[in-house]
């Protein structure tokens, strides 16, 4: 299957700060691609850059940024705004503040269809009610007339999802959609996203720092560290045999029933994410890496243990001991 979203060598900078340094990833039609990493590694800005929603002090460059085979790097704001909300949609981490407090749920949902399809208000509201039911909100007709402050966080996130689906997008970018929600609500939202994807053939780029979420939802995973994609792999093989030392460190931090022993402490990655300044060379993980060697300070090679896997490390697959 062809890639719906192709990102090659994406660089994002805010003034002198390089937030993303050459990230590449592909999201195929109908698959869930998880972007994983700790806070500040550049996951969210990558998503914003794809949508063309970077704040005005952020600059993006890339070798290639294409949606459905067509370049979107050269599109101006007007061209991007035609894609956004129509063929690519996004939901955010902050359901409490992402809806406009001054307008009803119905009017905020309807305007998407009115804008992109020139639908009538009536038709748009019908569609909104249908989608509210689709995201399992009870009495959708009544919800249309409600204001965001009358809804709980979980409901608001459902409204955001329903709103994102108004125009049947091909790509949904979800930036930590469950982080701000209760654990039980988290599970419901994730199940909802998985169902929607199966039913609608949606491609999802899911940003998360929760490996449990990754294990449950992803087809493919890209692990980001300090502005780089350090490993990209189908999900089963990533969990089965992580290659990059950072991925291994991340996985060792998660308790897996049956795999860990009661008397053994959980793993942790010592140290902090380094402050990567311009002109930084070598592997950004080397100060925290248990396998570091002198050549980690030089240019790092991207290795391909399988045709559909890659990781950014000096250590070749055959040198890498099983975790």
């Amino acid at each position: 299957m062809s890639a719906l979203l192709e990102v090659e060598d994406l660089e994002i900078s805010f003034g002198a700060l390089d937030a993303v340094r050459g990230a590449s990833l592909e999201v195929r039609r109908g698959e869930t691609h998880c972007l994983v990493g700790e806070s500040g590694c550049g996951k969210s800005v990558t998503a914003l850059a794809v949508m063309g929603l970077l704040p005005s002090n952020g600059a993006r460059r890339a070798k290639r940024l294409a949606f459905d085979g067509k370049d979107i790097l050269g599109l101006d704001e007007k061209g991007m705004s035609r894609l956004r909300g129509d063929r690519m949609a996004m939901i955010f981490q902050e359901p409490m503040t992402s809806l406009n407090p001054a307008y009803t749920v119905g009017s905020q949902m309807a305007e998407v269809l009115i804008r992109h399809r020139g639908a009538s208000k009536r038709a748009a509201l019908d569609r909104a009610a249908e989608l509210l039911a689709r995201v399992r909100i009870t009495s959708p007709g009544m919800r249309l007339g409600q204001y965001p402050h009358q809804l709980s966080g979980g409901l608001r996130q459902r409204v955001m999802i329903a709103m994102a689906l108004m125009c049947d997008p091909e790509l949904l970018i979800a930036d930590e959609p469950t982080t701000a929600l209760d654990v039980t609500v988290q599970a419901q939202i994730l199940r909802l996203l998985a169902d929607l994807q199966k039913d609608l053939g949606l491609a999802i780029l899911l940003i998360t720092h929760d490996l449990g979420v990754v294990a449950r939802t992803a087809h493919r995973v890209s692990v980001m560290y300090a502005g780089e994609v350090v490993e990209s792999s189908p999900v089963d093989r990533l969990f089965h045999r992580p290659m990059h030392p950072y991925t291994r460190g991340l996985l060792s931090c998660v308790p897996v029933p049956g795999k860990i022993r009661r008397d053994q402490p959980l793993g942790s990655i010592p140290g902090m994410v380094p402050h990567v300044t311009r002109g930084f060379e070598g592997c950004a993980f080397r100060q925290r890496c248990p396998l570091t060697r002198p050549d980690c300070a030089g240019p790092i090679e991207r290795r391909h243990p399988d045709p559909d896997r890659d990781y950014l490390c000096q250590i070749a697959p055959n040198e890498m001991a099983a975790p």
Binding site: D86, L99, P101
Partner: protein, 305 residues
């Protein structure tokens, strides 16, 4: 919503009653009214006659309740100085003041809102700085001076506008502009601050993610949330324009309520002073009430509170 309305109305009535009491008390504190009414060359007997004639010899409480019971039915007595009913006096002049205030507010809003929005969208850029500077100059400019400059320029040299009186709409252009000048800086800065705040909100990012047009993002999603403090201040500004335009009414010889207030204070015409103070208090209260209601329309969260 009904509960909200009822509570606001109750507060408004209480405010008016308080002002009523203060207006009465303050005029009595200004000195012996009988002496000032009788005039500087009157004898002690004259003063006693005046005191009796105006009922000033009665206990204060009696005078107060007498005045209040008449005031609530619109009877403010007769002016000591103008020898006319106070209500007639005020209602003759009210249209002038209202027109002037509304013209002033209209000019102020039509200048301040666009400038504030432009400033916010160009935050920190030269345009923003120039607008802020102009607003600062406007605020620093004394209104009587600006009034005179406008009169000399547009009235005398160019001859485009009449310089005094109230005959036509042209008469209100210059005083309205001068009045607007004092309100523009505050309105502009509030609009700017509100828009900057709103434009950086999460829901604006959502609106952009939905692919909405720039116009819709700025004028629909951001402006409605930025409007509330502007509405509140605009109401206060209008109240100020209606009650505090004495200087401008004097400069342009507009005989409105402000001018009447000034005259009656200087003449110790206390029935008129009391009535004007009460009227202005009611106007202020109504404006604030109106602003609260408008804000409740703008922000659904307020309706629940």
């Amino acid at each position: 919503m009904l509960q909200f309305l009822a509570r606001r109305l109750l507060v408004a009535v209480l405010v008016c009653l308080t002002v009523l009491t203060f207006a009465f008390a303050l005029t009595r504190l200004a000195g012996d009214l009988a002496i000032s009414i009788a005039g500087p060359n009157s004898t002690a007997e004259d003063i006693e006659v005046v005191r009796k004639a105006y009922g000033l010899d009665r206990p204060l409480v009696t005078q107060f309740f007498d005045w209040v019971s008449r005031a609530v039915v619109g009877d403010f007595g007769r002016s000591y100085f103008f020898r006319e009913k106070v209500s007639t006096l005020i209602f003759d002049r009210l249209p002038i003041t209202l027109t002037l205030g509304l013209v002033g507010l209209g000019i102020a809003l039509s200048v301040a809102l666009p400038l504030g929005v432009i400033s916010a969208l160009r935050e920190g850029r030269p345009v923003d700085r120039i607008i802020s500077l102009v607003a600062l100059l406007g605020q620093a400019m004394p209104s009587f001076w600006l009034g005179l400059v406008l009169m000399i320029t547009f009235g005398l040299h160019l001859g485009w506008l009449p310089i005094s009186g109230t005959g036509t709409w042209q008469h209100f252009v210059m005083p309205g502009t001068v009045l607007a000048f004092s309100a523009i800086p505050a309105l502009m800065r509030l609009t700017r601050a509100g828009m900057i705040d709103a434009m950086s909100a999460d829901y604006i990012r959502t609106a952009r993610a939905k692919g909405l047009s720039r116009t819709s993002i700025v004028l629909k999603h951001a402006a409605r949330n930025a409007a509330m403090p502007v509405v509140s201040i605009a109401a206060v500004q209008l109240g100020f324009m209606l009650g505090g335009s004495i200087v401008i009414e004097t400069v342009f010889a507009l005989h409105g309520v402000g001018f009447l207030a000034w005259e009656s204070i200087s003449k110790n015409d206390f029935p008129t002073v009391q009535a004007v103070v009460l009227l202005l208090a009611i106007i202020y209260t109504l404006l604030t009430l109106g602003a609260d209601l408008l804000n409740a329309v703008l922000d659904p969260r307020l309706r629940a509170a």
